[in-house]
Symmetry: C2
Subunit: 207 residues, 2 copies
């Protein structure tokens, strides 16, 4: 079946960005060839340069888009008014869900940032990411009220994110050493949502 017409009614510029996104996310900057993007968008290679002057510019568009989509979502899930244990459950479930809809993005961002750490600083100075004040205050207050044990909010936040993201970023490694077949991984992450939530709350809750 050929679904050319389905895509063709969106304009070329959008199709290019879509293909670029798809391929850059999987193969990274160096691994991606302009020809491959052109083919995927069913368009001529020259068109890429017509719309986005260079490979760098096209990559920049894809990268900012990913970062802009990614960081605010963490903040939104962690920096709200839910009570602390509910918030943690909600974060773990919600965050894993969100990431699983675009499972390549975290690895893409991390890997490209290791190549070129300046990229993020440039991005952050433009976009101004604010610190998670509500979360920080909430953790300090919960400790004062003896609901949780004294905890550095930033270390806790890093723990939560590590537990959610690492299994997705390192998926191929984990599939291999834990011998999980590819088609069982989603199910594994479903189970993991509950495990991680329990693990975190267990650790900080005062009993």
């Amino acid at each position: 079946m050929d679904n050319s017409d389905v895509s063709d009614d969106r304009n070329a510029e959008k199709r290019i960005l879509e293909s670029a996104r798809h391929i850059f996310h999987i193969k990274g900057f160096e691994g991606t060839k302009m020809q491959e993007i052109a083919d995927d968008a069913r368009i001529n290679k020259a068109m890429l340069h017509y719309y986005y002057r260079s490979k760098d510019k096209l990559f920049e568009a894809v990268f900012s888009e990913a970062a802009m989509d990614f960081f605010p979502k963490v903040l939104q899930l962690i920096d709200n008014d839910l009570p602390v244990f509910e918030k943690i459950k909600n974060f773990v479930h919600g965050y894993i869900d969100v990431v699983l809809t675009n499972p390549c993005i975290p690895g893409f961002i991390i890997s490209e940032l290791n190549q070129n750490p300046e990229r993020l600083k440039k991005f952050f100075s433009k976009k101004q990411i604010r610190p998670p004040d509500k979360f920080v205050n909430q953790i300090i207050k919960a400790a004062r009220d003896k609901k949780i044990v004294p905890t550095d909010p930033m270390q806790l936040m890093l723990n939560i994110i590590s537990l959610c993201l690492f299994p997705i970023v390192a998926r191929p490694v984990i599939e291999t050493i834990f011998n999980i077949p590819d088609n069982k991984y989603l199910r594994f992450m479903e189970v993991r949502k509950k495990e991680v939530t329990k693990f975190i709350i267990n650790s900080i809750k005062v009993k």
Copy 2:
């Protein structure tokens, strides 16, 4: 200062592998150019092909070396006869120490494996990595003895590894969003060793 002679007395083959390791670890397969390796090894490009027929072969050497160095160390630290809480402390501290001596390797392995998941399967079938039986049995027994809460050993192991590795793999991201200057990161990881140990033991310990 020129330290050519210091390195020159080791033979070319070793120097090449050393440079290849260094550059592949940082830039990955696609990002690495043979010329750059040659320059770094202060040797001619043709020599690379003389010793290691192709870029693929050279990469293969570097990758297996990294994997062979990396996976057994996890096993050695987690699958021994220490008592459970001591083992966890020992693992977190020892593992972070080991990884920090080669901080690029985890990201290198993860990222290359996302590009080509077959690589690890090939490697594992050769090298035969055994499962961490001692650890698994220990966790089951500790739960039976009510020393820890009932815990899936594999989920626990994944939790521990996530907490240790993610902050190293995602270092540039974390430095930026937590605003940690580059020269403070080692200190941050020192603090983190204790935090993570506490966090894990707190979570599973029966009080």
